[in-house]
Every structure is written in C-alpha cells, then in structure tokens.
C-alpha cells in the first residue's frame, strides 16, 4: 500500500497551472464569486434549493470564527475553489470516467457529456467544491443573453466544478500559437483573479520558475490546504504573512 507521504514525494512539482491566494488582503467582497458565475454560466438555484445547500458556486468565500461568543474573532476570509489536485480524490471514484486528469493541461477535468450524476466525486472531494445540477434551472429573459459561448451550459444531473477557466487557457494558447510564440506569464488570468479588486488571487504556470505565481508559492509561508491527504493541490494560500 502506498502511503500519502510517498505519493507526495514522488510526484511533487508536477502541476502546470496554479494559483496563489493571499488571505491577508482578501476582503471577502465576493467579486470573484460573481465573476466566476458570469464567466462560467453558473446558474442561480434560488432560495429553496440554496436552503438545501445546493448553491452552485465554483468559488466560495469561507468564513471562520475563533473564540467563544461574544468574544469572537473572525479569521481571514478564505476563498475556496477546486484545488486542481495533482492526485485528486474525485478522479478514481467516478464510474463513468467523467472526471479525468488532463495530461495536456494537468487539470482535473469534468466531462459533462460523460457524467451520469452519481455524485460520488462530490462526496469524495475533501474541499467540498463540486456542485451538482439538481434541476434544469430556468433563466428568465434577458439572462440567457449573457451566456459565455465558450463554456457549456450544463443540464440537470451533471456535476460541475472550477475548471481554472480552461476556456481562457485554450484561448490564450490558441492566440499565442497563431502568433508563433509561447503563452506569456500574466497574459491572461482566470475570471476570479481578474475581478479581484485587491489582487489577492494570482494565476499562472507553476512549472515555470520565472512566473509570478511560482515565485509567490515558493515564498515559504504558503499553505496548501489538506496537503496531508496527499492530494497535491495546486492552490497556495497565504495567511498571517
């Protein structure tokens, strides 16, 4: 049996795209949540389903408290999104191979047309970042006009999650290829990072030591959440730096 420590040792530094989130400058304004919903055609589930905990955010701001009431102290806001694990727990449990690891981009993919909706992946995700389409949610006019044509509109019974804005990755790669060059660092970014007014989110190539995101992630006090599970997350958090 392979122990998590061994997996971590053997496949460290294998990611391609990564993210750094500075919790000290995050104000919890939810701009990233809104931007993500707009970019990725995420539906609004409405009051009733939200009450069941069926909100479909690909990124959410987590809040925690320290101490006993009334002496409570809020810890820094924590944006939580798919960590694009190098050794993801969601992948091996899918019976339909709908959540697979992209060899080309080193991301966890969600193939909507393969998904049969067992929700096994969401139950196995330690970060709880997967969202399930419990219904075909209706969008009243004129909301369908703001659909992003580069992203699939998901239907009922399909699991979905953060893709690290793979449509933007492909667009940038396509543009760079047509101009005969490589994708430059900072040329494009994810919707959440673009919308963040405090620039708390930085996105880029972690396998390129020159890039801003890999320089930040090697700063020392960065934390990867639930790293002890051996999931090899590609998102680094800074807190109390």
């Amino acid at each position: 049996m392979i122990r998590p420590e061994e997996i971590k040792m053997s496949t460290e530094e294998t990611g391609k795209w990564g993210m750094v989130i500075d919790q000290d400058i995050c104000t919890g304004c939810q701009a990233c949540v809104a931007a993500c919903a707009m970019e990725n055609n995420i539906t609004f589930v409405g009051e009733e389903d939200a009450g069941y905990g069926r909100s479909m955010h690909w990124i959410r701001i987590e809040r925690f408290w320290e101490g006993e009431y009334p002496e409570v102290k809020m810890t820094p806001q924590q944006p939580m999104l798919c960590q694009q694990c190098g050794h993801a727990t969601c992948e091996p449990v899918c019976p339909a191979f709908a959540t697979v690891h992209s060899q080309a981009e080193q991301l966890n993919l969600q193939v909507y047309n393969r998904c049969v909706g067992t929700r096994y992946c969401a139950n196995n995700c330690p970060y709880q970042v997967r969202a399930f389409n419990w219904r075909d949610y209706q969008r009243p006019e004129p909301l369908p006009n703001q659909f992003n044509p580069d992203v699939t509109v998901r239907r009922m019974g399909v699991m979905e999650k953060c893709t690290f804005c793979i449509q933007r990755i492909h667009k940038a790669q396509d543009k760079a290829k047509s101009e005969g060059r490589e994708v430059m660092d900072g040329e494009f970014t994810t919707a959440c990072a673009q919308a963040c007014p405090a620039n708390a989110i930085v996105f880029g190539r972690v396998d390129n030591p020159e890039s801003l995101v890999s320089q930040l992630s090697h700063k020392g006090h960065g934390v990867k959440h639930l790293e002890e599970l051996g999931t090899l997350p590609n998102v680094t958090y800074f807190k109390g730096g």
Partner: protein
C-alpha cells in the same frame, strides 16, 4: 381475459397481427431517425456549387474560419454587395427574400447544418492552421447546392482524425486526445 388474448396471439392470425404491429413500430422509428438526418429547408436555396464555379473562395464568405472558433455566415450586406451589381440577380424572384431582408434590415434566418452539440468546443482556426482544408470535413461543395453534412460529426469521427494527425508524436497525441481539448 388476458389469457384469452395471449391464446389468440398464438394463432396464425395473431402472429400476423404481431408482425404488422412490429413492422409499423420499426418503420415509424426508422422514419423518425431518417427525418432527423435530413438537410433542413433554408430561407433561400443557396447554390454553393454555382458560387464556387465562379471562383469564389470559401474564406471570402466565411472568413471567421481562419481567425476564430466560428466560420460565420456572411451578412446580407455582403451578399447584396455582389448581387446588387448583377442585373439578373438583382431582380430575380429567387433572391426576393434577400432583397426584402436588405431593404427591411431584418436578418435572414439561415438554419445551421454543420453543428456540434453544446458540450463540444470547436475551433475552426486551429484546424485551418493545422492544414485541414474545408472539404476534408464539409465535403465537396462543388457538387452541392444547399449545404448538407457529408457525415455525422460525432466524436469517433473527430478522434480518428486527431489520432491520425498526431501520428507518432506523443506530446501531440496527449494534447489531441485530451478530453479537455474539446469538452469544457
């Protein structure tokens, strides 16, 4: 009652009835599938073959194919720019819908034929840049009037070509057979 019915079915007459019902269902299903594979009716019977015989390149009317994801359908202004100058087509009854659309400023509602499902993200530019010609996927349009698909655009057909194109290049094969290349 039900037993009586099944006994009746076992008789020669009953067997013939079962056969007729089966045939009716089968032909209805076949007809249903057949109708989905038919080329839809277009507002104007656009003759691709004639336009090509005049030496017009595909990219003249569908310039998006070399620049971005969608090849695009030319605007009616583009159609009319040529047809307005040709006396025969300017007053032709066949082109009345075009003339009406130009005069009233409403768009002609062409019916898309070469389509892929919503969960497939197709990019024309990458395919043109890789040296694919239009006719490799869209068929020989010199023989077509209204466009019809030469084959069903399904994933097996796409993937066959991707794997063939990659050849022995492992890096290219990984990229071209990756789910995330087309589905996101």
């Amino acid at each position: 009652m039900i037993k009586k019915f099944f006994d009746w079915l076992k008789q020669p007459l009953g067997l013939i009835a079962v056969g007729i019902v089966f045939l009716a269902l089968f032909s209805a299903a076949t007809y249903g599938i057949y109708t989905t594979q038919q080329t839809p009716e277009q507002p104007i019977d656009f003759p691709h073959n004639k336009h090509i015989s005049f030496g017009i390149q595909c990219l003249y009317c569908h310039p998006g194919a070399s620049k971005g994801p969608a090849a695009g359908i030319p605007s009616q202004a583009k159609c009319w720019a040529c047809h307005n100058q040709i006396v025969k087509t300017r007053d032709s009854a066949l082109l009345a819908p075009l003339k009406d659309a130009v005069m009233s400023g409403e768009s002609i509602e062409w019916v898309p034929v070469a389509i892929v499902p919503d969960f497939v993200q197709f990019n024309h530019r990458a395919h043109v840049a890789a040296g694919k010609n239009c006719e490799d996927c869209h068929g020989d349009l010199t023989k077509m009037t209204i466009y019809e698909n030469p084959q069903v655009f399904n994933m097996g057909w796409c993937l066959n070509c991707h794997i063939e194109t990659a050849g022995d290049d492992q890096e290219k094969l990984i990229k071209l057979s990756d789910c995330g290349t087309c589905h996101y």
